[in-house]
């Protein structure tokens, strides 16, 4: 987890800026299942020979999560699978202040910060049939080692007005928010509110994303899938 000194409100407004392209439904075969050999090769070239091993191990683990398994079990499995990856700051991993890694990059480099975990969990759950409207990326203020810091978790809403469960890389337990007094939500989003009204009233995926980095991330994931 990394700490930010920016004013939180400014940070939120900044994230509301426009981004690249959004994506639709994710494959039902899994988040990283079906990655091409070419992607494996590229990842091993970027992150060393271990990258391929890690990706294949993730694929094996992901295949063990059966499609159609009950929500809680699925959430537990995915949360645990992602949280196995060690934490590191973007500065240490990528040499930049903030970088949203694709799930493949997270696994291949075997390190990530809070956003990277959330992204990997989100796409893995989506790949296993969880609706986008049930999942939200939530910026929170969290008590980290006795002081407040900015953090991101993935919230799961069984119904729109139910109490969400939190998938977090600090507290690995899957807990309802009422048991997480250390987290104070600030702003949330997912990729389902990006639509436009068509000629006949139908809704289509919009090219304007709600968060700047989201578009960039989706573009990179799409590119990986096309390799």
């Amino acid at each position: 987890m990394k700490s930010h000194t920016h004013n939180l409100v400014r940070r939120v407004l900044y994230l509301v800026a426009l981004g690249g392209i959004a994506t639709g439904a994710w494959t039902a075969h899994g988040c990283l299942i079906g990655l091409s050999e070419r992607v494996m090769h590229v990842m091993s070239e970027r992150f060393g020979l271990m990258a391929t091993t890690r990706l294949k191990e993730w694929q094996r683990n992901e295949q063990r999560i059966h499609v159609g398994v009950k929500d809680l079990q699925l959430l537990e499995s995915v949360n645990t699978l992602a949280n196995r990856i060690p934490y590191s700051t973007d500065q240490d991993i990528w040499g930049v202040e903030d970088y949203w890694a694709t799930p493949a990059e997270l696994v291949a480099v075997n390190a990530g910060d809070c956003e990277d975990y959330v992204i990997a969990k989100y796409f893995t759950l989506r790949a296993h049939g969880v609706s986008a409207s049930q999942l939200r990326f939530v910026y929170v203020r969290a008590l980290l080692r006795g002081r407040l810091g900015t953090h991101m978790v993935l919230a799961y809403y069984k119904t729109p007005d139910s109490e969400p469960l939190v998938l977090d890389n600090i507290n690995h337990k899957l807990l309802p928010v009422s048991q997480r007094p250390d987290l104070m939500p600030v702003y949330s989003f997912n990729d389902e509110n990006m639509y436009r009204e068509g000629a006949s009233g139908s809704r289509k995926v919009d090219s304007v994303s709600v968060v700047r980095r989201w578009g960039d991330l989706v573009a990179r994931i799409t590119k990986e899938k096309q390799l």
Binding site: L18, P160, E197
Partner: protein, 654 residues
């Protein structure tokens, strides 16, 4: 005609290039405009989306209290300041169950200057953006914002108009630029085209421009070398024709005129006071027999030299083996000629003494009067015979008693008066004589009819042109004759269906006012199908520039131009190239030489040049049918003369 129409139909290179450039330009500008329009449209749509998303996100942060407490008035107060700005078509607040809690829709007042068709083409989709309203972890509902695209349409419309105006301005400027550029590029091509059209009219001019583009430069160089080649060829033909002419008019041995040369000289008009002398040496046969042909030739040459030295200001011709003719002009008196004859006898006696002695030389002299060359030669010959008969030494003058200088003056004056009176009193009759086309199978058709002017004396007797033309020429009456003939023609009441030929004197056609008034004359001559003016070759050669001006102006006024009495003046062929007449009529004197090699070569050469320049060749006043086949062999098929068709009066009564 077909070829001409094929040439003149179709489009010019200039318009083809202009059309192509315009098409390319329109396509390019349309492409640019389309690209600009599309990118602007996408940009505007994104702006609308971004705008809606910003509003939704802001409202999502401001609405939790109102929704949590169910206070829709607070929700309205929160939403209305934003909605009332007019940039949103709708703002909808929904609960988590999707039920509408609060809604504001903008009524479309239609107050816009944007045409409907433009909206239909642009078809901006009003984007709806959503944000979740939450309180802590709890989702309370959603806020949906849709932007109003009216302002986007206005912006798109205004910027499209501006870009379109700029593009039109650029297109106009480029069009003007392209026009000038193309014209400057095509100048050499236009020159080439004009030169090529001139070639079609048998005028070979070089193109003097030096184009900048390599292809055009090559084209000009190729064209100019072609013109050079043709001009050289024509130059050779011209030189050959001139050489043949000279050969056919001169005596090979002495370099003097021969009988035909003398005839062509007399044709040009000699004063009635001129003397013609025939000088004969009776010793040639004797010398040939006793001393051989070489000595005989030497005798001829010495005789020629002596005549040249003694009659240096006269015109000298060799008529027979040892017979010479001398024409002395009217300034000479009888006594003067006698003195010259004596001098000649002394000179020739001395120079020929080594060949034969004594030398028997006789000379007979006669005045021209109104006689043609034949009659004149006969008179001189009779004087010569008188000399021989009377065994008189030196020379003898024809009928000195009958002649009388005063009598001559009266005659010349009488003719002048007769001509003037006939013209004043309109005692002029017009005859026509056709030029007939004789085909290889003997069939004949009339090509055109030549007008012959006949004057009538007070006794009602008709005087043909041959009788008075020389006097009229010397007394400057030819222009009056032309004027009267043209008046008669203009006043004719009948429509004349034949092509008619009129002889026009240099006194008339060299006048600037006549040339300038040709278009008006053409209007007055509208009853005539076509009039061709025949100019004499010697006039055309003597006045080359006025002849060219006249020919050009006459053609512009739709008159025809032809040359008659052709083939006896040096420079005639050059005149052909300048004037490009419809046809030429050969001088009758040429016919005398058709049966000689030099004569037929000359005629052949003339016909060849005329064919090169697309000019027809006709023969004039050949009185004998026997010549017809000879002429046809040379390719001369148009013939005028009593042998083929006699003259008849022109019926122009009103």
């Amino acid at each position: 005609m077909n070829t001409d129409s094929e040439i003149h139909t179709g489009t010019t290179l200039y318009s083809q290039l202009m059309r192509f450039m315009t098409a390319v330009f329109i396509l390019t500008l349309s492409g640019l405009f389309g690209g600009y329009w599309q990118s602007t449209r996408v940009f505007v749509e994104r702006q609308l989306a971004s705008h809606a998303q910003d509003a939704a996100s802001s409202l999502a942060l401001a609405l939790p209290v109102a929704i949590h407490t169910g206070d829709m008035q607070l929700a309205e107060i929160t939403v209305m300041p934003l909605f009332d700005r007019g940039y949103y078509r709708s703002i909808v607040v929904r609960g988590t169950d999707g039920k509408v809690l609060f809604e504001r829709q903008l009524k479309n007042d239609g107050a816009t200057n944007i045409p409907k068709w433009f909206k239909k083409i642009a078809d901006l989709k009003p984007p709806a953006k959503q944000a979740v309203v939450s309180s802590g972890w709890r989702q309370l509902g959603f806020v949906e914002v849709m932007s109003e695209p009216r302002f986007a349409y206005e912006q798109l419309w205004d910027s499209s108009l501006q870009v379109l105006l700029w593009m039109l301005l650029i297109a106009a400027l480029s069009g003007i630029g392209a026009r000038f550029w193309l014209r400057s590029i095509l100048i050499p091509l236009n020159s080439l085209e004009q030169a090529a059209q001139e070639v079609a009219r048998r005028r070979f001019h070089k193109v003097l421009l030096k184009p900048r583009s390599i292809e055009l430069r090559r084209l000009v160089a190729g064209f100019n070398s072609l013109v050079d080649a043709v001009q050289t060829l024509l130059g050779h033909e011209e030189a050959r024709a001139e050489r043949f002419l000279k050969e056919s008019l001169t005596d090979q041995m002495t370099g003097m005129l021969n009988r035909k040369g003398l005839a062509s000289y007399v044709h040009e008009g000699i004063s009635e006071k001129s003397w013609l002398g025939i000088i004969e040496c009776h010793d040639l046969a004797n010398v040939n027999q006793t001393s051989g042909k070489e000595a005989g030739n030497k005798l001829i040459l010495l005789l020629g030299q002596a005549i040249k030295s003694c009659f240096s200001d006269g015109v000298i011709a060799r008529l027979s083996a040892s017979g010479f003719a001398v024409i002395m002009h009217d300034a000479e008196s009888e006594e003067h000629i006698k003195e010259r004859c004596m001098a000649f006898h002394n000179v020739v006696g001395l120079s020929c003494s080594t060949i034969i002695e004594p030398l028997h030389i006789v000379a007979g002299w006669a005045l021209r009067r109104q006689r043609n060359l034949g009659e004149w030669l006969t008179a001189a010959d009779q004087a010569l015979k008188q000399t021989v008969k009377d065994d008189l030494p030196g020379c003898f003058f024809e009928g000195a008693v009958d002649r009388g200088d005063a009598g001559y003056e009266v005659t010349a004056y009488g003719w002048g008066q007769l001509i003037r009176d006939a013209l004043d009193l309109k005692r002029v009759r017009l005859y026509t004589q056709p030029t007939v086309f004789v085909d290889a199978d003997g069939s004949r058709s009339v090509l055109h009819r030549e007008l012959l002017t006949v004057l009538v004396d007070p006794n009602g007797e008709e005087k043909v042109a041959a009788q008075w033309i020389d006097v009229a020429s010397r007394q400057g009456l030819l222009a009056d004759v032309d004027r009267v003939v043209l008046e008669i023609m203009a006043n004719t009441c009948l429509d004349v269906d034949d092509v008619v030929v009129m002889n026009l004197s240099a006194e008339t056609w060299s006048r600037i006012d006549f040339v300038e008034n040709l278009p008006q004359l053409a209007v007055r001559m509208k009853k005539w199908k076509k009039i061709i003016f025949e100019l004499r070759e010697e006039d055309v050669v003597n006045l080359p520039q006025p002849a060219e001006w006249f020919a050009q102006a006459a053609r512009n006024a739709e008159f025809g131009v032809a040359i008659d009495h052709f083939g006896v003046s040096a420079g005639g062929v050059a005149a052909l190239r300048r004037l490009l007449p419809e046809y030429i009529k050969l001088s009758p004197t040429l016919s005398e030489k058709i049966d000689t090699d030099a004569g037929s070569f000359y005629l052949e050469s003339l016909v060849a040049i005329a064919a090169t320049l697309d000019i027809r060749v006709f023969a004039l006043t050949f009185e004998q049918e026997a010549y017809l086949s000879e002429l046809q062999k040379l390719g001369i098929k148009g013939i005028q003369g009593n042998a083929v068709a006699a003259r008849k009066p022109l019926d122009s009564r009103c």
